[in-house]
């Protein structure tokens, strides 16, 4: 399936202890800084339990992977975590290529992801 080149969109849904960050479209060098800033913004406010909802994410490049890793390290240093939900096969393959599949907990159900904290 050929995917249209969609821009990235981010929304953050704060729950009591967990934030759900939903990302759609493409995370590449053009958009990764916005993604990185969203994660850093949460972490700087002490919000260190993050669910990345990738249900509508089509593509991620190394720029996005760097932001993910940076976010994960900061969250874990503060006693939190970053987990993933609904990772499609394209994104899963990219994560596998760089060994990230062993670093991030992955879920297929949003409730399970939130309950993991």
């Amino acid at each position: 399936m050929l995917l249209k080149s969609t821009p990235m969109d981010i929304s953050v849904k704060p729950l009591r202890q967990v934030d759900i960050v939903s990302v759609s479209g493409r995370i590449d060098s053009a958009t990764a800084s916005e993604f990185d800033n969203a994660l850093k913004g949460l972490l700087e406010r002490g919000r260190k339990r993050i669910v990345l909802d990738y249900t509508k994410l089509d593509y991620i490049s190394s720029a996005g992977l760097r932001a993910m890793l940076s976010g994960l390290k900061a969250a874990k240093n503060g006693g939190g975590n970053v987990v993933l939900v609904n990772v499609n096969t394209r994104i899963a393959d990219t994560l596998n290529l760089v060994g990230f599949h062993s670093l991030f907990l992955q879920f297929t159900d949003l409730v399970d992801a939130v309950d993991s904290f």
Binding site: M1, L2, L3, K4, S5, T6, P7, R26, D28, S29, A30, Y59, S61, S62, A63, L65, R66, L69, L72, K73, K76, T89, R90, D93, T94, L97, V98, G99, S102, L103
Partner: protein, 139 residues
């Protein structure tokens, strides 16, 4: 019979999606499945990001992308730029590992390019062309 196409764009990050779509269309015509198309997109994205960030490093320039489609056989991608030469040997080798503490992110882009493609060849100062990166993926 092979099909050749060319796209020239300003070396800017907002052109990456356009470059990716151009290459993905060609990759589908060769016959690659969705997973391989994603990997080919990744290789081109990483290569073009390197050109924008390191070869041109903020200065004005262009990226010339050429693809050669051989249906049921291969996709050849050639990227040309007139920026500063980029020495891939100077980039640390990325090594995926299990430990978060040990994970170092340097060289990630090159790692993805080499994982995605069968051949990756850098040439610098090619007369009349500048820097040339050739990547080949066989079906």
């Amino acid at each position: 019979m092979s099909i050749k196409r060319q796209l020239v764009v300003p070396a800017k990050h907002d052109q990456l999606a356009k470059l990716a779509l151009f290459v993905a269309t060609g990759a589908e015509e060769v016959g690659f499945d969705d997973g391989e198309v994603n990997r080919i997109e990744l290789a081109v994205d990483e290569a073009c990001s390197n050109i924008i960030d390191h070869a041109y490093a903020g200065s004005v320039g262009y990226i010339q992308l050429e693809i050669e489609i051989e249906p049921d056989r291969s996709l050849t991608i050639v990227l040309l730029d007139q920026g500063q030469p980029f020495n891939p040997e100077s980039v640390p080798v990325f090594e995926p590992c299990q430990s978060l503490d040990q994970m170092r992110i340097g060289g990630l882009g090159l790692h993805l390019m080499r994982q995605a493609m069968d051949d990756v060849c850098f040439e610098f100062g090619v007369p009349g062309m500048g820097n040339r990166l050739t990547m080949v993926k066989n079906l």
